[in-house]
Every structure is written in structure tokens, then in C-alpha cells.
């Protein structure tokens, strides 16, 4: 049998992420004009409090210390206490007048780049279900993660790096499944930078696995490749011409090249002092998350398609990073302190390099937090709250300095332009040039989508 080039390419999935989609998928009818080429998802594990950070609700001060004046179906996790006013004032910032807590010292400088989504809703009430919903669109069954869908849909333009990289992921609440490929071909799964863990590993120690070899040098490996090639040619001559065999040989050659590309992407030694400072790498408080964000920019520059950065450590008084069931004031101060400068630096840096136009930045956690305290906590904290919370986007074809959607006057339910997780996913795919209803994969006899049978892109936010 003669092996066509196309066969070989299809089998080997050239490079980490596979070829651009049109040669892998039967049809590219799902393609739309893309506004963004790539996405950086800044994931805030544990659930940041929307009403304390971005969603301004004066009623909370009025009702502080009193019960909520309405009774609602249970969307919280534990027993509800009384209304709690934000410990910090919110103020309007930038030309656009977006609301931000005083905790944010740096983010206001890029406020006019942000597009607030105030009406994200309908995730699961527990971390596990909510994290899986956020990452895979499904809270109970195993489904491909959104990064895997994106890789499957539009592949990658850099054959020497993965299409989907997740920097310092957490091992909790879905763990690998949150960047897994499930039934999609495994080449679409996210490649972790650093061992997934809880707390997650530090950026300094984050590495791709198996990218370095302390025992064998380059000459050793070249000699090994040469022998593999000769063995392969001999078996071909004997009539063993299965395309997988050829693909496998090519994968070794490619791996050999990747070993050189990956360390370069990770190497921040040559970043100038000004850039390190921009990301807060000169301050122990922001050094780690700044390093993660800087790695994200380096991945973005190299056309990695889907980049996730996880703020997913733990605090002395709460388990998951943003999960302030108690110690709201302390916890959120620490958390904002760790990310404020790095993410602001990332947005500024992307902008100054002209990358923000076609890079979508997405910020948020798996849910928000209740306007009330969680009963019996001291110092007070807030409970999980999935039915109305804030995420934001920047760059990548979204309106700048824009507010989308609304929660009620207590920040309890999303009441205008409700944006379900399916809607959010539809929007992300839309921005990346994918029609979420037409990007499908046939598995066990039916076609699957990231958005199941739901979801509408939030068209109002498109620039």
C-alpha cells in the first residue's frame, strides 16, 4: 500500500495539537470569522465574591446585619446568615465607570479594556460540580474540556507546542477532567505545566513532563533516532507499511525538536527587569502568580491556542484559594493582593505587544458568593453562590469598558441577560470563530457539543 501524505498527517496529528481543523474534521462548516485567535483563562479556584469585587449593591449596606428581605429557593451550600455589606467600598473607575472594590489598586488602570459579565449563572452549588461545569459544560458526566474542544475545532498554529496548556492546574474538583479530552482524541487534552496538585505547584517549579533528559545528551538521542529510522525502513521493506508505524517514527523526530522549543517558551531569564516588575515578580507577594501570567504571555506569543492559568492555592484559614466561607476580609485581601498586579501587567503587556486584539482574556471562578454571611462563621465569610456572579473578559473582540447583564439589588439572582455556562461557552467559541452548534463529535452513536443542546453567544458584548 502506498501511504499518502494526508494519511500520515491525519494519523500523527502533526505536533502537539493536531493540524488546523479543516484537514481533521470532515467539514469546516462550523467556522465563523474569528475575533480572537487564542484565549487566556485566568481561573480563580474557590469562587471570588462578585459583590465585594465588581458588582456594586448599595442595598447590602442598608440591610447589613439583617436577614435578606425575601425568601428564595436554596441556591446556597450551608445555612444562611444575615446580609453582610462588603468590607471595602466599591468605586467607579476609568472612563467607563466600571465598579471595582478599593481592594483593586492596579486593575483600575486597565478598566476600560474590560467587559464585565455580571449575570453568569446556573452552575452547581458545590465546587466539584461547578468546576466541572465551568470547564466542561457538564457537572456530573465526563465530557471534554473547553480547551480540548477548541483544540479539536481549530487546532494549533505552533506544531512544537501543545494547543492547550494549563499552567499550574489544581488536582481538585474534577482534576484532570477539567482539562481532559474525554472521548475526543487524546491529543486535544490540556498539557499541564507543572504537576497538578492541591495546592497547585509553584510557577518556578512548573515544567512539562519528559521534556528534559539528564542522563542522555543530544548526540545519544540522535544516534537512537538514527537506529529507530533504520529499523523502521527495514520493516517497511518487509511489507509492514501501517501508517501508524510511519507516524510513530515522525513523532519521535518531532519530539526531539519540541525538546528544544519548550524550554525556550519557559525561559524567562531574558525578560527585562521592567517586564518582571510589570508582573510583580519583584515582590514575594505577587511573584508566583506574576510568573504564571508571564508564562501565559509567552505561550500566547507562541500561538498556543488555549492557555489556562490557575490561582488555586490554599489559605491558612480556608481550603481553596477563594473559598472564603469565613475570613472574607482577610482572604479576599490576600487573594486580590496576589493577582491584582500580575493580571493588570498581563493585560498591559499583551496590549503593548499588539496581542490583546486577538487574545481573549477571561477572568473568574466556578461561582460567586452569597450576599449574606454563612451562618455561624467568625470572622464572617460568605457561602457558595451560583445563580448570579461576575466574570470578565478583555481583548479578543469584546466591547471595552462594558457591562453586560445584571443581578438583582442584592446580587442574588442574575435578572438581566442571564448568561448560563453554556451561553458563556457559546460566546467563547463564537469569539474564537466557532459556531458552538456545529462543532460536534460523534461518540457512542450521538453527536456531542461543548454546549450540549443549549447556549447562545452573548452577541451584545461583541465589539
Amino acid at each position: 500500500m502506498t501511504l499518502s501524505r494526508r494519511d500520515t498527517l491525519n494519523r500523527i496529528a502533526v505536533g502537539f495539537g493536531g493540524l488546523a481543523a479543516n484537514s481533521l474534521l470532515a467539514s469546516n462548516a462550523f467556522r465563523l470569522p474569528a475575533r480572537a485567535k487564542r484565549i487566556v483563562f485566568l481561573f480563580m479556584h474557590g469562587g471570588p465574591s462578585h459583590i465585594d469585587l465588581f458588582d456594586h449593591k448599595p442595598k447590602l449596606e442598608k440591610y447589613h446585619g439583617r436577614p435578606l428581605p425575601f425568601s428564595e429557593r436554596k441556591v446556597t451550600f450551608a445555612k444562611r446568615g444575615n446580609v453582610l455589606a462588603p468590607p471595602w467600598k466599591l468605586r467607579q473607575v476609568g472612563q467607563s465607570g466600571l465598579w471595582m472594590s478599593k481592594l483593586w489598586q492596579y486593575l483600575p488602570t486597565v478598566a476600560d479594556e474590560l467587559c464585565m459579565l455580571h449575570s453568569v449563572c446556573e452552575t452547581n452549588v458545590a465546587h466539584g460540580g461547578a468546576c466541572m461545569k465551568m470547564h466542561t459544560g457538564e457537572e456530573a458526566l465526563l465530557r471534554p474540556s473547553m480547551g480540548a474542544w477548541v483544540s479539536y475545532g481549530i487546532g494549533t498554529e505552533n506544531q512544537n507546542l501543545p494547543a492547550f496548556v494549563t499552567i499550574c492546574p489544581t488536582s481538585l474538583h474534577g482534576g484532570e477532567n477539567n482539562y481532559g479530552a474525554a472521548f475526543l482524541p487524546s491529543r486535544h487534552q490540556g498539557v499541564p505545566l507543572g504537576t497538578p496538585g492541591y495546592p497547585n505547584s509553584t510557577a518556578k517549579n512548573a515544567k512539562f513532563h519528559y521534556m528534559e533528559n539528564k542522563l542522555h545528551d543530544r548526540a545519544d538521542q540522535e544516534q537512537q533516532l538514527g537506529l529507530l529510522r533504520r529499523m523502521h525502513e527495514r520493516s517497511q521493506a518487509q511489507g509492514l507499511t501501517h501508517p501508524d508505524l510511519e507516524a510513530r517514527l515522525q513523532s519521535f523526530e518531532l519530539a526531539f525538536r519540541m525538546q528544544m522549543a519548550a524550554p525556550d517558551a519557559m525561559n524567562i531569564r531574558n525578560e527585562p527587569e521592567s517586564i518582571r516588575k510589570l508582573y510583580g515578580m519583584d515582590d514575594p507577594k505577587t511573584e508566583n502568580f506574576g510568573h504564571q501570567c508571564l508564562l501565559a504571555r509567552r505561550m500566547a506569543e507562541r500561538d498556543v491556542r488555549f492557555i489556562q492559568v490557575s490561582h488555586a492555592g490554599s489559605l491558612p484559614f480556608n481550603n481553596e484559594q477563594w473559598d472564603q466561607h469565613s475570613h472574607l476580609e482577610q482572604g479576599h485581601s490576600i487573594n486580590v493582593g496576589q493577582i491584582d498586579k500580575p493580571i493588570t501587567g498581563l493585560i498591559m503587556d499583551l496590549k503593548s505587544r499588539g496581542l490583546l486584539d486577538d487574545t481573549l482574556v477571561l477572568w473568574g471562578g466556578e461561582f460567586g458568593r452569597t450576599p449574606t454571611t454563612q451562618a455561624g462563621t467568625n470572622p464572617a465569610g460568605r457561602d457558595h453562590h451560583p445563580d448570579g456572579f461576575t466574570m470578565w473578559m478583555a481583548g479578543g473582540g469584546v466591547k471595552r469598558g462594558f457591562r453586560y447583564g445584571k443581578t438583582d439589588e442584592f446580587g442574588y439572582h442574575a435578572i438581566e441577560d442571564r448568561c448560563t455556562i453554556h451561553d458563556l461557552h457559546a460566546t467563547i467559541l463564537h469569539l474564537l470563530g466557532i459556531d458552538h452548534e456545529r462543532l460536534t463529535y460523534r461518540h457512542n452513536g450521538r453527536d456531542f457539543r461543548l454546549t450540549d443542546v443549549y447556549g447562545d453567544p452573548a452577541r451584545e458584548i461583541l465589539a
Binding site: M1, A13, G128, Y210, H216, L245, F252, A255, N444
Partner: protein
């Protein structure tokens, strides 16, 4: 795709009774098929290829060089038959084919999902599966035991672990809505049963009538009622077989305790120094002269922290000394004893005496030390709790004193006791299982919403597929009757689905290309006649899978030479080995594989809330694990990366057909994994000790001798690599290359 009516989809081939095959011989049916395709059968495989194929296929291990030589030397006409029979009787057969089954049974040792709790007793289901294959449990009983082993009369505890099949699914543990949680668990069970035994996606009918197959929502809830009437829970096994190990351990423990007591009896002491424990020179212990210390005075702890007591001791007669402590302890509170900073022994102060009071005080030999003339510091440490220590005694002993030898023995006994106690804890025989709960019918959940109830449906089975439909009995859940319904010989799906799986696992692809989906959206069989011939034969052979293997493997079809063209039917299809076979073969080649069944339940692996440090430790534990891969714990969401890189299935859903991807991350692992390089070095070291290292290497890895060309190529390789470093390094590089090569990873 158009939605089929129930009537329309009932005409689908897989829902029709088994057809009458075109011939009563596998080989004839295949020959006809090959002829019809206009190709020629590939000539038979040579003996080297054949023995490697049969070994990997049946037991998942390569033949040893001696086994190869014996087969080549055996010129009798039934030489291959003998090999097949030997392999079918090997304990390793169940380890290989049981693992195949675990793929579809979505086996895991932890929950995965939202909260990854460990399933400490899941391994009993795994071992039950392995044993079931080894004793050739007929498939209908194999299936029945997994659905209803607890209900089969007469009751046999050995069947209980089988029902772990229904219990090991991934659950969303933090689901806050108990009604939804229950409905989700039942859904997972139904969907699994459908895919695994019938090749049907029953789960699709949870919210609406199945769009493509004849499964109305009503039938879904008829079956759901069966599982709503079934509860999941760990069950203790009390039969002799399961407790025998525990009894042995208990006896052993009693024996050890008696021996220790013997040793503590009087021996000749010379120049004994004896003092009250409370006479400390330094320390932070508390002294009790009341209660537990009444009348004697003892030292003890303050409840938390580290506790220590030091004594300055003046030795007047140098030489070997025995140290004894007098203490009482209800529970063991081990600590350390140091003389001049040097620990005396492991597991010090670890005895128990029944109670804490003065009447329970006993002398215990703690160890020996060589002490010179003059001052020494004796230090007792214990954290956080301390035994109630009353006195300390140091006695010089004659070097010939028998007690010296006994002290050695004592240390060994104490260490043994700790191990035995741990084994005893593990030996408490629990298994994941199910039992009938409150028997009730389930209402239809409108659009799958568990809070929106329609009409209640009597418990029952599918009405559109299979034979004479009955309902479940009133008194119990109906699982046993469900199993009977599925294994009825005229059920059109059950036998077809399993023979297709067996064919798939032998040849790397099934006669039906979608082994978990025989519905209208699945693939049509390549050769229905062949499928039905095998299905009929299986039923006629009383569902014996070993007979089916034998029939398939001794056919000419199985013994044909290799074809590498994807989709070719005129030979044995080239295919890649599974991750487990690759690892086991690697460890066997390096001489580090332990072929026994591991004595303990499972490795200690962190699954819930792992840090990156514990995950790294998990990986080390996997890498150092000497037993066969099937015994490695499957921690969902954190499966051993060597496995996942080589397409180990996702353990949360039935997988009848593993993926087969070729990605550079695999190559990176093959090139750079320190574990692989270490194994390659061990292979190199071991073959270099043999008379003919290159032949040995080729026999071990490829089950054939090296050709002349390969020989000179290898010698050249080693020569060149040696120039850069040394010969040992060169051999490691060569072995690693061959291990990573296509011939090593693929089965011909």
C-alpha cells in the same frame, strides 16, 4: 439523522434473532469473505511470530527465551495447541483477560468525579473478575453474578464482590440534592449495564424516548425501578475463606506476643543499675504519684507535643548492657530511647500490658548497648503520648549470656508484630457490593427531572428488544430476573456483544466496529454470519469463554501472517500493545517483574486532595511497584501517566475499544522517562551477563533471534556510543532504543 420509529428501529439487524451461518466453520466463513473481497489469504505466520502473538494475546506477557526455544524445537503437529492450552491454564490468563473486562466495567480504585475519595475495597471486585476468567466461569453466570450475585440461591459469599460492578461507578458526591444524586447513580448503573452487556445506550432514554433505538422512556423507568430498589454499600465478608487469613494472622500475633513475654523473663543480671523513672536530670515529662502512678510514681505526657526525660548514668563496669523499662500501657505508645544520642532500637516502648494502672506495670527488655566506663546520657522520648513509665534498669551482662541473642530476636519479633498488625487491619474483609433495599417502582421523571413525576412504571425490562418480556417480582428488586432476561439464549444481543468483544480483544478490532453500540447508530457487522456462528457456538458451549478462545486461536484465520494495511481482512492485523502489556513486558525483560499476586489489597496512593508532592510520591510508588500492571491502583483523574500516555481508557465510562493515538508526548516519554532509562539499563546489565547478549536481547524484546544485519548494526551502534562515554552506557542506549521501537510496541 432521521428519528426512527420504534417499529422501524426494531427491524435493525442486531435486534433480530441470530441468523443461520453460511457454514459451521470459522475458517470457511472467513475464506468466503476473503474471496468475496477479491484478496488472497496471507500465508501462515512463522513460529516466532506466532508464539509472541499467542503469549501477549492470552496472558499479556512475552514468552521467555526458553519458552521460545522449546516451541521452536517442538516439531509435533499440535505444538501450537499445546502452547494455547498451557496459556489458557496459566494464572496470568485471568490477569490479561480480566483486565479487558475491567475496561468495560469502568473499574477504578477511587471515585473520580467531583471528590476523588478512595474506594479501598474495589480491588475485591477486580480480583473476582481475574479469578472468574481463570476458572472459566460461564459468561451467563459471570454476568448474573455482577448484576445479582447477592441474590443467587443458595447464597455464596464469594459472589458478593461481583456486585461491586454496580457500585464502582463515579458519583457526584457533593451533590446537594439527594433525589437527583440517587437518580444520577441509577442512571450511571443503567447506562453501564446497557453498554456493557447489550451494546445499547439506555441512558439516552432518561429524558425522552430513545431517538434511534427502540427504548421508550417508560422502559427506562421500568428498569430504573430495579436499581432504585437496590442500595450500594460496603459489605463485610464473614465466611471462612475470607476470614482465614485474618485467623492466621491473629494466631501469629498471639505467638509473637508469647515469644516476647518469654524473652522478658528473668535472666542473669550483673551490676544492675536500677532507678525510678521520675528521678530525671532533665526533661519535660510530668510526674504522677496519684491515679495511674499511685504508690509507685510514674512519668507521663501532657497530652500533646514532644516528651522527653534524660538521666545521667555513671557506668562502673564497662561492657554490654541490657536496658529494661518498667511500664504499663493499654495501647502501644512507641517512643525512642537514646544513649549518648544514639538510638537503642526501633519500636522502643511499644509493648502493651492490658491497662494503664500500677498493677499492670511490667518489665520490658528494650535493647542492648556497649557502654564504656564513666558518664553517659540516657534519654527517653515519646510523642505525643507516653506509656506510664515506672522504672529504668541497666544491667551488664556476660558476653556469652543467651539474652544477647534474644535481644536481636526481640527486635525482629517487634518489627514482625507491627507488620502483622497492619496486615490484620487490611485483612478485615470488606467488599463494595449492593443489596436489595426498599422495593419500589419508579415514576417517570418528565424530561429527566427527578422532581417532576409522571406515572409510576412497574419494574421490568426493555420491551422493544429481546425476548418474552416479564416484570420484576413483587418481593425483590428484580435484578436476578433482569440477569435472566439478558442471558436468555434467544436474546439477540447478549451473545453477539460478548463474542464481538472477544474477537476485538484477540484481533485488535471487532467484527462490529462499535463494540459498545449495537444500536442503529452503531456500525454494521463486517460479517454477520461469522458473528452469529461464534455467538451460537458460545451458547452451545455453555458460555465457556476458554472454549471460544481455543476455537478462535487454533483456527487458520488466527494463525495467518500479519497484514499491516488498515482494514485488511486477509491476515492477522498488526496492532499496538496496551500500556499494561508494554509495562509488564518491560519489567519482565529487565528481570524486575514479580509474577505473583500482590499479598496486600492495593498500594497506598493519595487520591483525595493530592498535593503535587504527594502526586510525585504516587508516581514513584507506581514506578517502584514490582507486580503486574493489572494490580496497580486505578486512581481516577490521576492514573499513572505511563498508562494514560499509551491510551489507557478513561475509567469512568465503559470502554470496549481503546483509543490508539500516536502523539509526540509518547515519544518524549520513551526518550526521556528516567524510569524507562532505568529499566533499559537493567535490561542491558542483565543481557550482558548472558553468553550471547544480542540474541538474548532480541529474544526477550522481539521473541526472535537477531538477523546478521541487525547484529552488525548493533555492534556498530555500541562501538560508536562507547566512544562518547562507555560500553555500559552504550548498551543502555541500545536497549532503550529497541524497547521504544515499533517492533517492541506492536504485535504482529
Amino acid at each position: 439523522m432521521a428519528v426512527l420509529s420504534v417499529e422501524g428501529s426494531q427491524k435493525h439487524w442486531a435486534f433480530q434473532p441470530l441468523t443461520k451461518p453460511t457454514s459451521q466453520s470459522l475458517d470457511r466463513i472467513v475464506r468466503l469473505e476473503i474471496k468475496a473481497a477479491g484478496v488472497k489469504p496471507t500465508p501462515p505466520a512463522d513460529k516466532y511470530t506466532l508464539i509472541r502473538r499467542a503469549y501477549f494475546d492470552l496472558i499479556g506477557l512475552p514468552p521467555s527465551p526458553n519458552q521460545i526455544r522449546a516451541f521452536i524445537a517442538d516439531k509435533s503437529t499440535n505444538a501450537f495447541e499445546k502452547v494455547v492450552d498451557e496459556l489458557l491454564n496459566s494464572r496470568h490468563y485471568g490477569e490479561r483477560w480480566g483486565r479487558h473486562w475491567l475496561d468495560v466495567a469502568r473499574y477504578g480504585d477511587s471515585n473520580g468525579g467531583d471528590e476523588n475519595h478512595a474506594f479501598p475495597h474495589a480491588w475485591r471486585y477486580r480480583n473476582w473478575v481475574i479469578n472468574a476468567f481463570n476458572r472459566d466461569l460461564p459468561y451467563d453466570e459471570f454476568l448474573r453474578d455482577q448484576l445479582a450475585g447477592d441474590l443467587v440461591q443458595p447464597m455464596d459469599e464469594e459472589r458478593l464482590p461481583a456486585t461491586g460492578f454496580l457500585a464502582i461507578g463515579t458519583k457526584i458526591l457533593a451533590e446537594q440534592d439527594p433525589v437527583k444524586k440517587r437518580a444520577d447513580i441509577v442512571d450511571e448503573q443503567l447506562d453501564t449495564i446497557g453498554r456493557v452487556f447489550l451494546g445499547l445506550s439506555i441512558g439516552c432514554a432518561r429524558c425522552h424516548d430513545h431517538k434511534f433505538d427502540p427504548i421508550p422512556t417508560r422502559d427506562y423507568y421500568a428498569m430504573a425501578g430495579i436499581f432504585h430498589s437496590t442500595t450500594i454499600g460496603d459489605r463485610e465478608l464473614t465466611g471462612d475463606k475470607f476470614t482465614a487469613q485474618g485467623k492466621l494472622l491473629k494466631d501469629k500475633l498471639a505467638e509473637i506476643t508469647a515469644s516476647i513475654a518469654d524473652l522478658n523473663r528473668t535472666f542473669t543480671r550483673q551490676h544492675a543499675l536500677e532507678w525510678e523513672a521520675e528521678a530525671i536530670d532533665r526533661g519535660n515529662v510530668i510526674v504522677l504519684t496519684n491515679g495511674y502512678g499511685k504508690g509507685i510514681g510514674i512519668i507521663g505526657d501532657r497530652g500533646k507535643g514532644e516528651h522527653w526525660a534524660e538521666y545521667d548514668v555513671k557506668i562502673t563496669h564497662p561492657g554490654t548492657h541490657i536496658l529494661e523499662l518498667r511500664y504499663a500501657a493499654k495501647d502501644a505508645r512507641p517512643g525512642q530511647i537514646k544513649i549518648d544520642g544514639k538510638p537503642l532500637s526501633e519500636n522502643a516502648i511499644s509493648e502493651t500490658t492490658g491497662e494503664w494502672g500500677p498493677s499492670n506495670q511490667r518489665w520490658h527488655i528494650e535493647g542492648k548497648a556497649d557502654l564504656s566506663l564513666g558518664q553517659h546520657v540516657l534519654r527517653i522520648e515519646s510523642k505525643p503520648l507516653m506509656s506510664h513509665i515506672d522504672k529504668v534498669r541497666l544491667s551488664a551482662v556476660d558476653p556469652t549470656n543467651a539474652v544477647l541473642k534474644s535481644v536481636e530476636e526481640l527486635h525482629a519479633l517487634k518489627a514482625d508484630r507491627i507488620k502483622t498488625k497492619a496486615a490484620l487491619r487490611n485483612a478485615k474483609p470488606m467488599t463494595m457490593a449492593v443489596r436489595d433495599g426498599q422495593v419500589k417502582n419508579s415514576p417517570i421523571n418528565r424530561l429527566g427531572n427527578p422532581h417532576d413525576h409522571g406515572e409510576k412504571v412497574p419494574r421490568g425490562f426493555l420491551t422493544g428488544v429481546g425476548s418474552a418480556v416479564g416484570n420484576a417480582p413483587e418481593k425483590n428488586s428484580g435484578r436476578l430476573e433482569l440477569a435472566d432476561w439478558i442471558t436468555s439464549p434467544d436474546h439477540p444481543l447478549t451473545a453477539r456483544v460478548i463474542v464481538n468483544r472477544v474477537w476485538h480483544w484477540h484481533f485488535g478490532r471487532g467484527l462490529v466496529g462499535s463494540p459498545d453500540n449495537f444500536g442503529t447508530t452503531g456500525q454494521r457487522p463486517r460479517n454477520l454470519s461469522l458473528l452469529d456462528h461464534l455467538a451460537r457456538r458460545l451458547i452451545a458451549d455453555k458460555w465457556s469463554l476458554k472454549k471460544l478462545h481455543r476455537y478462535i486461536m487454533l483456527s487458520k484465520t488466527y494463525r495467518m501472517g500479519t497484514v499491516s494495511n488498515p482494514g485488511a481482512i486477509n491476515g492477522f492485523p498488526l496492532r499496538r500493545l496496551e500500556a499494561e502489556a508494554f509495562r509488564d513486558a518491560l519489567l519482565q525483560a529487565s528481570g524486575t517483574l514479580n509474577h505473583e499476586v500482590p499479598p496486600h489489597s492495593s498500594l497506598k496512593i493519595i487520591s483525595q486532595n493530592p498535593t503535587h508532592v504527594t502526586l510525585a510520591r504516587n508516581r514513584r510508588a507506581y514506578e517502584e511497584y514490582p507486580y503486574r500492571s493489572v494490580y496497580l491502583p486505578i486512581v481516577r483523574s490521576h492514573v499513572y501517566d505511563l498508562f494514560t500516555l499509551l491510551d489507557f481508557p478513561n475509567a469512568t465510562t465503559p470502554v470496549g475499544k481503546r483509543a490508539n493515538t500516536t502523539v509526540p508526548t509518547q515519544a518524549l516519554m520513551m526518550m526521556n522517562s528516567p524510569f524507562l532509562i532505568k529499566q533499559a539499563a537493567a535490561v542491558a546489565e542483565s543481557v550482558r551477563k548472558t553468553k550471547n547478549p544480542l540474541d538474548e536481547l532480541y529474544l526477550r524484546l522481539f521473541a526472535r533471534p537477531a538477523t546478521q544485519e541487525e547484529r552488525s548494526e548493533s555492534i556498530e551502534f555500541i562501538k560508536n556510543a562507547t566512544k562518547r562515554k562507555d560500553e555500559r552506557h552504550a548498551w543502555t542506549l541500545l536497549c532503550q532504543t529497541l524497547l521504544a521501537s515499533n517492533e517492541s510496541l506492536y504485535l504482529r
